[in-house]
């Protein structure tokens, strides 16, 4: 069952991430795709994540698809203008890619080519509008397409914000994303079911399927690092303490993640597991979460 049918029929969906690596070796991508294809509904193929240059998300999405795993092609606005973005989207459809996730993208200064020219010709909202246009059979300037795609488009949102302004801006922008054609939402990593519940209450009227983002902790250090450096990630102290006290960090990280998924499940329509190098543990997380 495709991600779209799953979410549209109201079933709980599971997505994860497959990140292209730097270089031409695709062994790990193929291994992960094979390992995950029967365990998840779809996998996000990250696009130059954190502004670090790697193998492209379009070709990696195609490779993953060939291996039998449904890709969600992530499309970042930082590196390509509207001509290239629209063209790559048409290419993706021709390659059989049906899901796309619209993202503005981190600044180049955060990655490994800080000297790069930032593009941002479009942003996450204007890109969604462009995708909707392509689905309707025309480009951004209304020129007719010969053969059109039918993308299932998604967007992201940050659940936890550290200022009221940031929180309200996230919600206002999420509303725009839905108005611009986003059919599903994946969230930044969540660590508190309570704050996630409050967030879901806020966006209730939007009536769009939400997949709660989770990142399994590998260590207390990782949690502290994310709290310091990743906007919108707030790992509570008690979880950090549990990781500090844990003898078997891996087993504990997996268990905490599975427990969180159990708490989030009744609140949303799916879970998005971002394993960040721990892809091989995703099946165990899913199993322990009872999905």
């Amino acid at each position: 069952m495709s991600l779209k049918s799953k979410l549209e029929s109201g079933k709980f969906a599971i997505t994860c991430e497959v990140g292209p690596l730097k270089g031409t070796d695709i062994t790990e991508v193929e291994e992960n795709a094979t390992l995950l294809r029967d365990k998840v509904d779809a996998a996000n193929i990250t696009d130059q994540q954190s502004s670090v240059m790697r193998l492209g998300s379009l070709i990696t999405a195609y490779i993953v698809l060939q291996k039998g795993l449904e890709p969600i092609y992530q499309c970042v606005c930082r590196d390509r203008n509207r001509i290239a973005l629209q063209s790559d989207l048409l290419s993706a459809w021709v390659l059989g890619i049906k899901n796309v996730l619209s993202i503005t993208g981190d600044l180049p200064q955060l990655g490994d080519h800080p000297e790069a020219k930032p593009v941002y010709d479009l942003d996450s909202v204007t890109l969604l509008r462009a995708i909707k246009g392509l689905n309707d059979g025309h480009d951004m300037n209304g020129n007719e397409l010969r053969g059109k795609p039918d993308f299932y488009a998604g967007a992201v949102v940050k659940v936890d914000s550290d200022t009221d302004a940031s929180m309200e801006l996230q919600i206002a922008k999420l509303e725009k994303k839905v108005a611009a054609g986003a059919k599903f939402i994946q969230t930044q990593a969540v660590y508190s079911a309570d704050s996630f519940a409050r967030f879901m209450k806020r966006i209730e009227k939007l009536n769009v399927p939400v997949l709660a983002g989770v990142i399994p902790l590998k260590s207390a250090g990782m949690a502290k690092y994310m709290n310091r450096s990743v906007s919108g990630v707030m790992v509570p102290d008690d979880l950090i303490q549990k990781m500090t006290d844990a003898e078997d960090k891996k087993a504990t990280g997996i268990k905490l993640c599975a427990d969180l998924i159990k708490q989030l499940k009744p609140l949303c329509q799916g879970v998005h597991i971002m394993a960040i190098g721990w892809e091989k543990n995703v099946p165990q997380i899913i199993q322990e979460a009872g999905l």
């Binding site: 600044l107 909202v125 940050k158 200022t163 801006l169 922008k173 906007s231």
Partner: protein
């Protein structure tokens, strides 16, 4: 106002490598107020270059090096000194360097880096900046420019990168969209946040061809060189 700052001396010495004599040009306009190429900096540079073994054939500070007519008339009494030099070191913004290079038949070295002020022009004094985008969005944004206040020039609202009100580019830089939010809130205009704004028309962000063809430009296009 255009802001410039002096390049490191080793860069300047690198440009001058293989030369023995140099003429130094400063600017009494923005470079003087930037502290990068006024009379004081020209004298300092003269000393540094002489210490480094160069012969400085002469110096001149001209009111606005960005104006070719002023460059040409300002150098009139200095033609011999310019002619005696291997090159001219021009201590001003990139526009001034280009104007001098177009007016004088000499190698011209830049002594400064021009700092992007985000589109300010004229007698601007405050903190507001405009990129001259030709499609002003201030109505939607509480009078704070999203092109210059937001590091990514986002028109649809904030990205997810801000931390504690600061932009992901630096903890010292306010998130422009949080400023916009707070302003809209103060003015009771939060409904403006839901406007779907079109992607920017970059054609309008560029100078129009007719703007490059005014009579003022035509005057500037005189081929006559001095020196």
């Amino acid at each position: 106002m255009i802001l410039s700052e002096q390049k490191p001396l080793e860069d300047i010495l690198g440009y001058l490598e293989g030369e023995k004599t140099v003429f130094i040009l400063g600017c009494n306009g923005c470079a003087q107020s930037s502290g990068s190429g006024g009379p004081v900096q020209v004298e300092e540079m003269k000393k540094k270059l002489e210490e480094a073994g160069f012969t400085v054939t002469g110096t001149k500070v001209i009111d606005f090096l960005c104006e070719k007519a002023l460059v040409k008339s300002g150098l009139r009494g200095k033609i011999d000194q310019v002619a005696a030099a291997d090159s001219i070191l021009v201590m001003t913004c990139g526009i001034g360097v280009q104007a001098v290079a177009a007016s004088v038949n000499k190698v011209c070295h830049p002594a400064c880096n021009t700092i992007n002020l985000g589109g300010s022009r004229g007698e601007w004094q405050g903190s507001e900046r405009c990129n001259e985008c030709g499609q002003c969005l201030l109505d939607y944004t509480g009078g704070i420019c999203p092109l210059t206040a937001c590091t990514k020039s986002l028109v649809s609202g904030a990205c997810g990168g801000a931390s504690e009100g600061k932009c992901e580019i630096s903890p010292d830089h306010d998130c422009g969209w949080e400023l916009i939010y707070n302003r809209l809130k103060a003015k009771n205009q939060l409904d403006k946040l839901s406007a779907l704004i079109d992607a920017l028309d970059h054609n309008k962000l560029m100078a129009r061809p007719e703007m490059l063809d005014t009579s003022r430009y035509a005057l500037e296009q005189s081929d006559q060189e001095v020196g």
